[in-house]
Symmetry: C4
Subunit: 229 residues, 4 copies
């Protein structure tokens, strides 16, 4: 059971390495079977070279182990909090990819400087508040999830499928584990472009609402006309 | 029919991936058979890993499908407008390559800082005007083409084979699909060099007209003496 | 004898090349057998392509050759000084990796801007004092080691497993040759992130003590809960 | 005859591509047989993928073709001027590698910020004067060589084996074609480090004379003790 989910989550984790988004055992990807309420996630501290579908850990949404002999990622409570609150997402990804992490370390949201950004993110990529002493010392990973959820009050997580956790790094998500990884790849790309953009033009403003709408909506939603569907 | 054109356009699209100019299905290359008035272009949203010559879409210059079962690139109206107005070009390329896109996002033309630039572009790489609300909301891709054509009033597109669309990214062109891709590779290289140059010397001026003439004209035109011809 | 040590040190040196941390014969890795008091180190000026375990030089802690026909790395006296003073370390690595070297050249410590840094280094990565004329002219490599040891007065080298030698470049260390190389890979990664961070936010401050503790201590020490142990 | 020279020069040209210093047919390497007074150089505009030893062109020091059916590199007069004036050099290399070219475009010499630089270059890497109108319009490539030679008045070219031609890019040289390429690889590396260094510390000063002497002279000259010789 859940063989397909474990295989997908395993391959999505390995994809992080192929896309040069992680080194060593950094980062993790999970996926959820919404009907069963079962989350599949990378085991903690395991090298991507050694990862097999059998090693993927299954948990319920309360964090109880359903299957697996290894410890799940230490970031599991963050993933579960996101699944509990963002009901439309099916996969989550976390990395320390260089440019997205630099924006997170600077505690500055990534402005929407162009259509590359607008094709995937319907506005700036937000940064969470800096976590308080108590939030860090107790249930840190759960509180990381809560900080993300708080930051997304009034934002549809499917329209902005990533966040920068202040002083830390990016999380991304999507309909599936694969699309969470795709959002992370794109996030690193636009983070790099945005850094280069401000080096060329320090006070660069964001693109207008009309261009943002045009590009986001030609790829997403009812009137999308990009691709073969 | 048009087998050679479809094969060339397919290979030129795949070349974008090999040259690390695109990720996923971003970007597109087209080519034209001027005698037949037939344009070959990448289908929309198809991965470069899956692309075959059979999938390339053929259209006439008015945008009517001549051959192909897939939807052409959503940027097709931009390509067609350029083919209708730049009569000497035989291929067009569009990407979101990182440094050229950063200059486009900053809405700043790429100054001619050196001979590497002058070997391929006979002056700065221009940036279009920011598009107006109405131009974006109606016939956006056609209007993108018109903005480029407007910007090239008085410029020979064969002497400046690329443009930055403001807030968006680069288009390049050439005698063929292959040379359009070559112009894009070089554009990304000089965009990267130009960014590094202004980081070293913030108020750097452009090279003089004599050096620009020397380098451009030793490679292009009647008195060229570079290469084996 | 010492076959395992020589093999490990050889492979760790070759790993520097695979990780793109060195070019040509730059850099070196050593390891120590603490019970025997024997250090294994790369021979001087040998290309990584040619390196075999048989070429690794063995010395005692006073620098006397125990085994080997080649000259040891010219940086050997630096390594020996570190082994004599940092009694818990089992391997040392030196490179001229680009971003870590840039911080060393700027004579500025790498601030702890985020959790990626805090996962491996329990505070900023220190920079040594600029060496004096006499220290450079006589026993330069030994004095380099002494400058590092001096800078680590009051710092546990296992908690900050790397240093920037002013005007020169990084040294890193760990329980073994392999972990010294891992520390170097991570150092280059956080040096790159830190550079990008200050380009986004010039006056960026370091992360708070609570977050530093949380991340360092969830991976290291008695209460660590990262990984499978 | 000259088979070995042609083979070496061919391989050194191909090495430029492997080292990611050039794209397309950019750049060129030459070598000289000093006893015969014969220079071997890359043919103009030929792709590195197609290059074979048979295609290498042989000339005497006055530019007369000794052997070969292809046109020599358009930069040949620059190479010949350097061979005529720098009598100790045996090979020359020219590229448009990104960071070295950025410094050349900025018309700023590369300061000696650290030991990586000092290991290969006994001081800053100089930049030529900007060439005058007449120098560009007549015998441009010869005058490029003359501008380099002028800039090296009082400098031993074997101690500073590279130059930045203002608004253009780097030339490097050495005892052989291979060592000219090595100097170019190192130049690009230190140009990148120097750019990163000034981004961290804008007013960074150069290293002191004692450290420069120490590093340069431990690798070069009579008292060198680096390597196995």
């Amino acid at each position: 059971m859940y063989e397909e989910l474990k295989k997908t989550v395993c391959q999505s984790n390995i994809e992080l390495q192929k896309q040069n988004l992680i080194i060593y055992s950094w980062g993790n990807v999970s996926g959820i079977d919404r009907r069963a309420g079962v989350v599949a996630i990378k085991p903690s501290g395991v090298s991507y070279d050694d990862l097999t579908p059998e090693m993927i850990v299954l948990l319920d949404l309360d964090g109880n182990i359903v299957e697996g002999t290894l410890k799940p990622s230490s970031d599991t409570p963050t993933h579960l909090e996101l699944y509990r609150n963002f009901e439309t997402i099916g996969g989550i990804c976390h990395t320390h990819s260089i440019c997205a992490t630099a924006w997170a370390q600077a505690c500055i949201e990534i402005p929407c400087f162009g259509t590359t950004h607008a094709d995937y993110f319907y506005g700036p990529v937000p940064v969470t508040d800096i976590m308080k002493k108590d939030e860090i010392e107790n249930d840190y990973e759960l509180n990381t999830g809560k900080a993300i959820v708080r930051r997304f009050a009034g934002i549809d997580p499917m329209q902005i499928p990533a966040v920068l956790v202040a002083n830390h790094g990016p999380f991304s998500w999507g309909r599936s584990a694969e699309s969470a990884v795709e959002a992370m790849v794109v996030l690193e790309e636009i983070a790099t472009m945005a850094l280069s953009t401000i080096m060329i033009s320090q006070q660069q403003g964001q693109i207008g609402k009309t261009l943002l709408d045009k590009h986001y909506l030609r790829k997403h939603g009812r009137n999308a006309y990009y691709g073969q569907k």
